[in-house]
């Protein structure tokens, strides 16, 4: 079993939190993990990505080879497309629908969606909308993660473990909201996947 995942977004959007939850989940399953993060220069409102590799065998490279990723999880729609060269033929792309527009030449959003819809396997989720409805706008990244659950090799208690590990310090309330956000993302995915 192996799962190669690319996390994408814009600096400050919380992709490292998604990475951490998946990382803890893998630890809970006793799986091997390598997670390459981007630190430094590229964090000031620039494009950021993280490579996450999970396997029951030993993992060699910290980076996913092009054409080999099973899944792209993106908290921003245009960013999800930047990493298409890495996505495998039958890989899934799960992305937030809400654009983060901090550049002068951001493309027409409808064209972005239609590029995404050209892929055989994709999910576009209004994670910001779902998170605001739950009155926790900050958890939109976790909503996106929720929508990717069907494509990840974990059980619900692995996620619970991960969320607890990551947010435990901030109190029970925050842990609960994030678990709800995760569930909401997962439910959304169920409704459209039928």
């Amino acid at each position: 079993m192996k799962s190669d995942i690319i996390l994408a977004g814009v600096g400050g959007q919380g992709i490292l939190s998604i990475a951490a939850v998946i990382g803890y989940a893998a630890l809970n399953r006793n799986l091997n993990l390598k997670q390459a993060e981007v630190h430094g220069m590229s964090q000031r409102g620039g494009a950021v990505q993280s490579n996450l590799r999970i396997s029951d065998e030993e993992i060699s490279s910290d980076l996913i080879q092009s054409g080999m990723a099973d899944l792209i999880i993106s908290v921003e729609p245009m960013e999800s497309l930047r990493y298409l060269p890495w996505l495998s033929k039958n890989g899934w792309l799960v992305t937030n629908s809400k654009p983060y527009n901090n550049i002068p030449d951001y493309p027409d959003i409808e064209s972005v969606y239609s590029e995404i819809k050209k892929l055989p396997n994709h999910i576009i989720i209004d994670a910001d909308g779902i998170a605001s409805e739950m009155k926790s706008r900050k958890s939109s990244n976790i909503v996106v993660l929720g929508a990717a659950i069907p494509f990840l090799p974990f059980e619900w208690d692995d996620y619970e473990f991960g969320i607890n590990k990551l947010f435990g310090r901030k109190g029970e309330e925050i842990v609960r909201t994030n678990l709800e956000a995760l569930k909401a993302g997962m439910e959304f995915c169920k409704t459209i996947n039928k």
Partner: protein, 541 residues
């Protein structure tokens, strides 16, 4: 022992800590910053009172670490690759003095220049200084090497280098840790003249270092980090250094190719091992992350007898980070099918944060300089370097830390008057102060702007050595009180700030403008920490 999920940087930090570290010295720099940050937050380091505060620059860090080693304790210094340029005088000479307590020099290189001005390969420095080098290929090796390097250092009384690159520094994986060792007691060097590099002593020390080379090589020959993996197809032998091993195994996984492999992770290169390996294969392919240092040493000047390929003959690109695609191509392995990036995807470069004081400095400066024309703003390295991009287009140079001040001085010498230097507070104390003294001594017609956000922002908001004392430092260096001006770079002060700048640009001597406004990121983080502390206090009562 415990299984921890650690970045390569953190694995190194945990390794030196468990091996009995007494002091870590460093100046921040991507991708090395997390080494010190991990030690600063480590319970063990706090319990043991391990030295763990930032130094003013890499040279002061290197020298302080050497001082701790002199006093008998185990010390480590960490920096990014270009930091070693700054520390190189101390580094090269520390190989001549030798050490007393173990001394580890960790250098993090940045091939592909993710956040650097160049991609120099620190193994050259290690070779230049004639010291042993470790080059871990994964997080576990990073930990193990850091744990063992003090022993090697103390065995031969020599500083030991550990070289990593961005990918490993910033990638997380499970690490098995070992038992925690005692720290050294302080004791003076056995040879009390060892550290006095007068020519007569230095010559002796240097001969000693030279005669140790064969021991260092035999350590490499016998190192468990260097080994041969047998293969049935001897048409090609592959030598893979450090991280390159991972890309090699990743590429081979998808094939049935069975070439012999020599893994190298400890230097000087294990000569006999290579000789034996090479004689059993028809050709060699060398894979290394960085410059072709091993390849070059094998091809030699003439490259007549033996077919060696790698970065030099174009089998692999000469520049940039290695990856599995490059390695697959070099081995003739077909790449997996992949898609293109759709053409509508726009670049998204990093930008100055909304509300950043640097922006207001640039907006005023652009206006103040309008009458003089373009091409006279010498800048430096930090968040404010992003002022080079649209729409500000406010700076003309960024070379190395501190160069803004001295390049402005040189340009003014050439008649480019007024010349402006634009520097951040941390870069100013790192290496701008000495340049300012040059300017003061000859009263150069330059205007120096120190954009003081009270932190080292670019690397994540570490303490900045000059916070609260920049004014005093400038006065102490001899800047005229009349031409040392404080300003607050806020939108509402825009017009006033333009006037101040205009006036100082007209002055035919050294002016310093200190523009003070806290970094919004650091301010927000400090607020969060304060709130969390309050929450904890409430919970405890």
């Amino acid at each position: 022992m415990k299984n921890k999920l650690l970045l390569g940087d953190e694995a190194l930090a945990q390794g030196v800590l468990d091996a009995g570290l007494s002091g870590c010295y460093a100046y921040p720099g991507t991708p090395s910053t997390e080494i010190m940050e991990y030690i600063q937050n480590s319970k063990l380091a706090i319990e043991r009172n391990v030295h763990r505060s930032w130094s003013t620059n890499e040279k002061t860090a290197m020298e302080a670490a050497l001082g701790m080693s002199y006093a008998g304790k185990r010390a480590m210094v960490s920096m990014k690759h270009v930091g070693l340029n700054v520390a190189s005088d101390a580094f090269i000479n520390s190989a001549i003095t030798g050490v007393n307590g173990g001394l580890i020099v960790i250098v993090a290189d940045d091939p592909s220049m993710h956040s650097s001005q160049n991609e120099q390969d620190s193994r050259f420095y290690g070779k230049f200084a004639l010291v042993p080098i470790f080059e871990p290929s994964n997080q576990q090796e990073a930990y193990d090497m850091a744990y063992e390097a003090f022993d090697l250092s103390e065995k031969y009384q020599v500083p030991v280098m550990i070289r990593i690159t961005t990918r490993l520094a910033h990638s997380r994986s499970g690490v098995q840790t070992k038992s925690v060792r005692e720290m050294n007691k302080s004791r003076l060097p056995g040879d009390m003249r060892q550290f006095i590099l007068l020519p007569a002593i230095a010559r002796k020390r240097y001969k000693g270092l030279l005669s140790n080379q064969e021991h260092f090589t035999s350590e490499s020959e016998n190192s468990h980090y260097n080994h041969i993996i047998e293969g049935s197809n001897k048409d090609l032998g592959i030598i893979a250094c450090g991280l390159a091993n991972n890309y090699l195994h990743e590429s081979l996984k998808r094939t049935s190719l069975d070439y012999p492999i020599l893994k190298i992770s400890q230097y000087p290169v294990p000569v006999n091992m290579i000789r034996k390996f090479a004689s059993s294969c028809k050709k060699l392919l060398i894979l290394e992350e960085g410059y072709p240092i091993v390849e070059e040493s094998l091809t030699g000047l003439l490259n007549m007898e033996y077919k060696v390929s790698g970065r030099l003959d174009g089998s692999l690109p000469l520049d940039g980070e290695l990856n599995s695609d490059h390695v697959s191509r070099a081995l003739g392995i077909e790449l997996p099918a992949s898609r293109e990036v759709p053409s509508l995807v726009a670049n998204r470069p990093p930008t100055l944060c909304p509300g950043c004081g640097h922006t207001d400095v640039f907006l005023a400066l652009n206006k103040a300089l309008a009458t003089y024309g373009k091409g006279r703003v010498f800048s430096d390295i930090g968040c404010y370097t992003l002022g080079a991009l649209d729409p500000l287009n406010a700076i003309d140079t960024c070379v190395d830390m501190g160069a803004s001040v001295t390049m402005a001085v040189g340009a003014a010498d050439a008649g480019l008057i007024p010349a402006v230097a634009m520097i951040g507070d941390s870069t100013f104390t790192h290496s701008g102060m000495t340049g300012l003294l040059d300017a003061v001594v000859k009263n150069s017609p330059i205007t120096l702007i120190i954009s003081d956000n009270a932190t080292t922002a670019m690397t994540g908001g570490q303490n900045s050595a000059g916070t609260g004392s920049l004014e005093k430092i400038c006065l102490g260096l001899g800047v005229d009180r009349e031409h040392l001006i404080m300003m607050t770079p806020l939108r509402k002060n825009h017009d006033k700030n333009i006037d101040i700048m205009k006036k100082e640009l007209e002055y035919n001597g050294v002016s310093v403008i200190i523009a003070q406004r806290e970094c919004v990121q650091t301010a927000a983080r400090d607020k969060r920490i304060a709130a969390a502390l309050k929450l904890k206090k409430v919970a405890n009562t």
